[in-house]
């Protein structure tokens, strides 16, 4: 009844309301995007223009964009080495975490452990993830010093694989638990081994989740700073540490800082875009499905 009474009026009102909602949503997206835009705009200016161009600094309108800063920064040997280091560390940490984590996740999803319950093992893995890194960084530093692994990529791979392993276990455990059992059971009846079932049935079915998990943990490893700062000083410098070094030695150079920020941020940001469907589950450690 009430709805019919003011039908004509409410449709205009509803339209106004949806326009307002759209405007608010666009404002929120702009807020999220603004720093990326600012970095891009700054990176395309000459050093002088980073100070003289006012306000939003729209390329082509307020200044003529140049790639000089990009060419300058990317041609430095140090930048290239940091890019190589970051890539190697991220890829190898991810591989180790997947190789160790996937079978463990499968075991927790499909087998029953008796002395310690499955759920307690899972939560134990998870508790590693919430550990403040500053708690382990000092003993880890001393361990690596004794092992003569300071300033090596190996040390960074060991550290990062440890951080991301719980992610793999928790996310993949849920993925395996969600897979239908019938195929695996009938393969068991046919006499297949558990290892071949994991390899030939469960892994292919879980492939999309594995890919998404890999992207998320690659991004995490790429972004890691505290351990990289502590362990890598010259040879094993990663992109985040390289970024920090630039500021200490040369003061505030907006134009270079913008390039470096984008070089650092773009790979993880783009990788994560492909894993959108798994982000909620990944970041809440499997506590919530999204």
């Amino acid at each position: 009844m009430k709805g019919k009474e003011d039908g004509g009026l409410s449709s205009t009102r509803r339209r106004t309301k949806s326009v307002i909602i759209l405007i608010l949503a666009i404002a929120a997206a702009l807020w999220a995007f603004m720093p990326f835009y600012w970095a891009l705009s700054t990176s395309l200016r000459s050093p002088l223009e980073t100070f003289t161009v006012a306000g939003l600094g729209v390329p082509f309108v307020q200044f003529k964009p140049t790639l000089a800063n990009w060419i300058d920064q990317l041609s430095i040997g140090e930048t290239q080495r940091a890019l190589v280091n970051s890539t190697i560390v991220a890829v190898f940490s991810t591989i180790i975490a997947l190789i160790l984590g996937i079978p463990a996740a499968y075991a927790l999803a499909r087998f029953r452990f008796f002395t310690i319950k499955n759920r307690d093992i899972t939560v134990w893995f998870l508790s590693q993830r919430v550990l403040p890194p500053v708690v382990t960084v000092i003993p880890f530093f001393l361990m690596m010093r004794s092992a003569r692994l300071l300033d090596t990529r190996t040390a960074l791979i060991l550290a990062n694989a440890t951080f991301i392993l719980p992610f793999v276990v928790v996310i993949m455990r849920q993925t395996f638990a969600d897979l239908p059992l019938e195929l695996e059971e009938s393969a068991l009846v046919d006499g297949a081994t558990h290892l071949s079932i994991l390899r030939n049935i469960s892994l292919p079915l879980a492939a999309p989740a594995i890919a998404a998990t890999a992207l998320i943990i690659l991004a995490f490893t790429w972004n890691e700073f505290l351990f990289a700062l502590t362990i890598g000083s010259r040879q094993a410098v990663t992109i985040p540490v390289h970024m920090a070094g630039a500021v200490d030695t040369r003061g505030v150079q907006f134009w270079f800082m913008a390039v470096r920020a984008l070089v650092a941020m773009l790979p993880p940001t783009l990788l994560a875009l492909f894993a959108q469907r798994y982000i909620v589950r990944g970041l809440t450690l499997g506590a919530l499905k999204g």
Partner: protein
């Protein structure tokens, strides 16, 4: 729910389960538990590199509670985290409600909103340094005042909160949006027939239903935000003075810049206990999910 699942779910018995599980367990023991024990031992000693360690009992822990810098580090961390997490939850929920409606380009706008999440924190810190910079920075270039974002102690802490809000509101938004989309339509239709206002529906139906999700997000954000290191390191360097020297940064400097390893270990253990108290609430909830 989980019991019914347990009935259907086959849990196999075979020795191979140990071969699957143990490598991962051993790895974590070596690289996490061993350092933790090592660090606990150090916290009872006065460590002097090259001169041997002296056992000093709980002295390092006593210092944590009496040291002026430790106290100010704890307070500023708390201040930054409380402001940031409160705003993230409210803003994230508001955005989720907003995006839970049909609108043009929703997918694209949602994707853009998630971009801050995985952006390298250290890079973000330096980038926001240029955004907050007093002369020629983005914000002061757009507003008619010269706000001392990074040189005023209070504003510097607020700036760190603002960066954290920028990066982590999308996380709250995504989780809340997923929760809202999981609610049943029937409930809303029933509420519409009762002709409640939008606010009443939100207050008396939506909010209670997603309350468990809100609690999880709150605990996760608190545990995560207390680790705060990269942003203060890059945005303010802990300054001006020690105004934004957060707890992790102070611990890091104590241990790895001044090599007061015993004190740093005690500092980190106190932090560990605080974080563990927060996440134990979270784990209580999680155990049920993982059963």
């Amino acid at each position: 729910m989980s019991q019914a699942e347990g009935g259907v779910r086959a849990l196999w018995k075979s020795k191979i389960k140990f071969a699957f599980l143990i490598p991962a367990v051993v790895w974590v023991l070596i690289f996490t538990i061993f350092p933790l024990i090592y660090s606990l031992r150090m916290s009872f000693f006065n460590i002097r590199i090259g001169q041997g360690d002296v056992f000093i009992g709980l002295t390092n822990f006593a210092r944590v509670f009496t040291n002026e810098q430790a106290r100010s580090a704890a307070l500023v961390t708390l201040k930054i985290v409380v402001v940031a997490v409160a705003v993230e939850l409210v803003l994230g929920l508001a955005l989720a409600v907003l995006f839970n409606r049909v609108m043009p380009a929703r997918g694209l706008l949602r994707t853009i909103l998630t971009m801050p999440l995985f952006a390298t924190p250290i890079a973000i810190g330096y980038l926001f340094f240029t955004i907050f910079y007093e002369e020629g920075g983005l914000i002061n270039g757009l507003i008619p005042w010269k706000v001392p974002w990074l040189s005023d102690p209070g504003l510097a802490a607020l700036s760190i909160s603002m960066v954290d809000i920028w990066q982590w509101t999308p996380f709250c938004f995504l989780v809340f949006l997923a929760a809202l989309q999981g609610l049943s339509d029937e409930l809303y239709e029933a509420a519409m027939i009762e002709a409640s206002s939008g606010w009443q529906i939100f207050r008396y139906i939506t909010l209670p239903l997603i309350q468990p999700t809100i609690v999880i997000v709150l605990l996760l954000r608190l545990a995560e935000a207390l680790k705060l290191f990269d942003i203060p390191f890059s945005l303010t360097g802990g300054g001006p003075g020690t105004a934004t020297q957060v707890y992790s940064l102070f611990t890091y400097r104590t241990g790895l810049r001044f090599f007061d390893l015993g004190f740093a270990s005690a500092l980190s253990y106190v932090m560990l206990v605080v974080v563990m108290i927060i996440v134990s609430f979270f784990f209580r909830h999680l155990r049920q999910i993982y059963d």
